[in-house]
């Protein structure tokens, strides 16, 4: 482990080139009162290569200490029941429930010093995907920023949510799900994907029986859409027009329609992701990235609640933390995320596809009296791969009990700024859009 700038970063080769560049560039910056160095110009040119972003949104607050930041030497009431296994990177261990990802961490970088400022789901969720608190102003989702910057790619909307619905807990949904100050035009387009790979577009629910795979006839679809339109009153027509246009474009454009058809994938590819809604959604995300969709957020679940009536197994493991991680969450994540990485690498898409996996916070390292873990905003993880992110690094370090970072904390605002930067939304564009104000790039990733 070496200290570089604000963060500790290591990789299998010691000091990285980018870390060296940052260290070297620090001197002229200090002396030149902000004049960009040649090295920084080069660095800026290397950024902006992400054509697509796939955010795996691990909604509910995954336990960092039970997954990617284990502490086997911590006291028993902290460390939990899981053994640890070595990874591809010497000295870095994951828990035993992530064997596939442990063999692939030379393909991604791990941040162990994420910190947020809200301990509740909707609040932290909004911070996690916008960089800012929910009030007084709801800032735009990172995906909305990229959507505005890139615009539509043919018939396909620029910002997709893949999942059952807008992330929420039982009382309410998060505020920062969409366009925020940029407007509703930059809200995500919601598409769900079942464990069988069946794709559904909830905005078309008024058209019974319409799914992407069933649209065979353009005229028939137009007739159905017009019939639905006639049933609306005036107040709903504007909303309908927007939905209509987007959905119509999706369902009639051959490229778009094809992207939703997972049956076009080889059976072996579909199997590799696992027959789970999350697994098949990850595959759909790859297909959308393949046709140029700029931002795809794959939501692990709609609800944070994990063992609750109507709850769809979020990561909010106030009960059954150890059982659910072991029985369900980690095996599903391990398989789907690994398959996604392999698939992107095999297709040569990793060069221009950024993959990020994170939740809104971690979980209390001290085990609760119910043998589970509560919310913990003071330390959690995120995972980064592709589009110029240097793989194999472990950035940041938590204390002996995984309670607080020992290194400079990394915030969701920094995560969003880094995503934007890698998508070509530089400081100038961010200022013009009035987004991500005050954010800085996580240089240790680059």
């Amino acid at each position: 482990m070496i200290g570089v700038g604000d963060f500790k970063a290591n990789d299998c080769n010691g000091l990285s080139r980018r870390s060296f560049l940052k260290t070297a560039a620090a001197v002229p910056f200090a002396m030149g009162a902000g004049l960009p160095s040649l090295l920084d110009v080069q660095a800026a040119q290397e950024r902006g290569r992400a054509k697509s972003v796939i955010l795996l949104w691990l909604w509910g607050g995954p336990s960092h200490i039970d997954t990617f930041d284990p502490k086997p030497d911590a006291p028993m009431d902290y460390r939990g029941p899981f053994g640890t296994i070595p990874t591809k990177i010497p000295g870095v261990h994951f828990t035993e429930m992530l064997p596939r990802l442990a063999q692939r961490n030379d393909k991604f970088s791990l941040i162990r010093s994420m910190v947020t400022t809200d301990g509740g789901h909707p609040g932290a969720g909004t911070i996690g995907v916008t960089g800012f608190k929910e009030s007084p102003t709801v800032h735009p989702n990172f995906g909305s920023i990229i959507a505005k910057h890139r615009g539509n790619s043919g018939a396909l909307p620029p910002f997709f949510y893949l999942g059952r619905g807008i992330p929420r807990d039982l009382p309410r949904r998060i505020e920062g799900y969409g366009g925020g100050t940029l407007g509703k035009a930059y809200d995500p387009f919601l598409v769900s994907c079942s464990q069988h790979g069946d794709v559904n577009i909830p905005t078309l629910k008024m058209l019974d029986g319409i799914t992407p795979n069933r649209i065979q006839d353009r005229k028939k679809l137009l007739d159905q859409l017009d019939a639905a339109h006639r049933t609306l009153d005036g107040a709903r027509i504007d909303d309908w027009e927007k939905t209509h246009q987007a959905a119509y474009g999706l369902l009639t454009d051959p490229k778009a329609k094809d992207a939703f058809d997972l049956t076009r994938e080889k059976e072996k590819t579909r199997e590799s992701y696992g027959q789970t809604a999350f697994g098949q959604s990850c595959l759909l995300a790859r297909r959308l990235a393949q046709v140029g969709v700029p931002y795809i957020q794959v939501n692990w679940s709609e609800y944070v609640e994990t063992f609750t009536p109507n709850g769809d197994w979020g990561w909010d493991t106030h009960i059954y933390n150890f059982e659910l991680l072991q029985d369900r969450h980690c095996p599903i994540l391990d398989r789907a995320f690994s398959a996604l990485l392999d698939d992107l690498y095999d297709r040569g898409m990793m060069e221009d596809t950024l993959v990020v996996a994170m939740g809104e916070f971690g979980r209390t390292p001290k085990i609760s009296k119910r043998a589970a873990r509560e919310h913990h905003q003071h330390c959690y993880f995120s995972i980064w791969a592709g589009a110029g992110v240097q793989p194999g690094r472990t950035i940041g370090e938590s204390d002996a009990r995984a309670e607080r970072p020992l290194t400079e904390p990394i915030s969701p605002l920094m995560a969003g700024t880094t995503i934007a930067e890698l998508c070509g939304v530089g400081a100038q564009q961010r200022a013009e859009m009035k987004v991500l104000d005050g954010g800085s790039v996580i240089n240790e990733l680059l």
Binding site: P81, E271, F307, H318, K369
Partner: protein, 300 residues
């Protein structure tokens, strides 16, 4: 002893070492348990994204149907039937982040809910061999312990008082000993103790998990899940922890072992090609690997 080949016509080749696939849908499954002398199998099944319910697989027809009707939106996991067939135990999701042990009198259709204070959830209920009590895991005020309660919900008592997480109790057929897992040694290991919680013996020793131990019907062996070879795999060992044999291998997940009443087969939830189904494995009578080659005792 049940003659498996006579009641399972579609399992005509059960004697072969190759596992027999019992389901085909590939949906996420858990907690299989043989019922009706091995004629049926109950298990947890992801019916929807937000609902796990218990199905019963009829091994004569190969068809699965809901075992507990009218569950509404309540998850049901870890079902068991009492040895006398009169009672069912199941963990039921009764509210937000709350799960209770339900003991159902199947004849009188009466439910007894085992309650503890506050939120939380019971785990891994199992009937005593005399069908008079249910042992389960619960964290009341700290480390998760094993508890015991009468089938009428009375005389609830804590059986263990140890550090770490205790879970997955399983009785020897004579009811004298309980095999279970505990994490006090930094990961889950398998232990055996007297039914009153005394005379504990450690049966496994390694640096990764050994979980879900299930004692065979004749009390001579224990099937369990372990990650000792990388992925989740199922193993069998003698009741004293020696002579460990792997029933499965590889990174694809194999989990939730349950003994058939004949004592010669174990059903496992296996993820093959990303699809979860039930597979019936023959347990080799001696120390051999799944490929049929002799296996030296790997220790525990």
């Amino acid at each position: 002893m049940v003659a498996l080949g006579m009641i399972l016509p579609f399992l005509h080749d059960f004697a072969l070492a190759e596992p027999k696939r019992l389901t085909e849908d590939g949906i996420l499954k858990r907690d299989p348990y043989f019922v009706d002398g091995g004629k049926g199998l109950i298990y947890g099944y992801d019916e929807q994204d937000d609902l796990v319910r218990v199905l019963r697989l009829d091994l004569e027809t190969g068809k699965s149907e809901p075992f507990v009707p009218d569950v509404g939106d309540k998850h049901h996991i870890e079902p068991k039937l009492s040895p006398d067939g009169r009672f069912m135990s199941v963990t039921e999701c009764t509210g937000n982040l709350t799960a209770k042990l339900v003991i159902r009198n199947l004849e009188e259709r009466k439910d007894v809910y085992i309650t503890h204070s506050g939120r939380g959830g019971t785990r891994s209920p199992v009937f005593t061999p005399d069908s008079k009590r249910v042992v389960y895991a619960f964290a009341e005020t700290g480390p998760q312990q094993l508890w015991s309660v009468q089938i009428d919900g009375k005389e609830k008592k804590q059986l263990t008082q140890c550090e770490g997480v205790s879970n997955w109790p399983s009785f020897t057929p004579d009811g004298k000993r309980i095999v279970f897992s505990n994490s006090r040694e930094n990961n889950y290991e398998i232990y055996s103790m007297s039914a009153d919680g005394t005379d504990e013996k450690r049966l496994t020793e390694n640096t990764i998990m050994d979980i879900r131990p299930v004692v065979s019907p004749d009390g001579s062996q224990i099937a369990f899940t372990s990650t000792r070879d990388g992925g989740y795999n199922v193993y069998v060992m003698k009741i004293d922890g020696t002579n460990v044999r792997a029933l499965t291998a590889g990174l694809d997940r194999d989990d939730y072992p349950a003994w058939h009443p004949d004592g010669r087969h174990v059903v496992i939830v296996s993820e093959k090609g990303g699809r979860f189904d039930l597979y019936l494995h023959e347990v080799p009578p001696g120390a051999v690997n799944p490929d049929g080659k002799p296996l030296a005792d790997t220790g525990s």
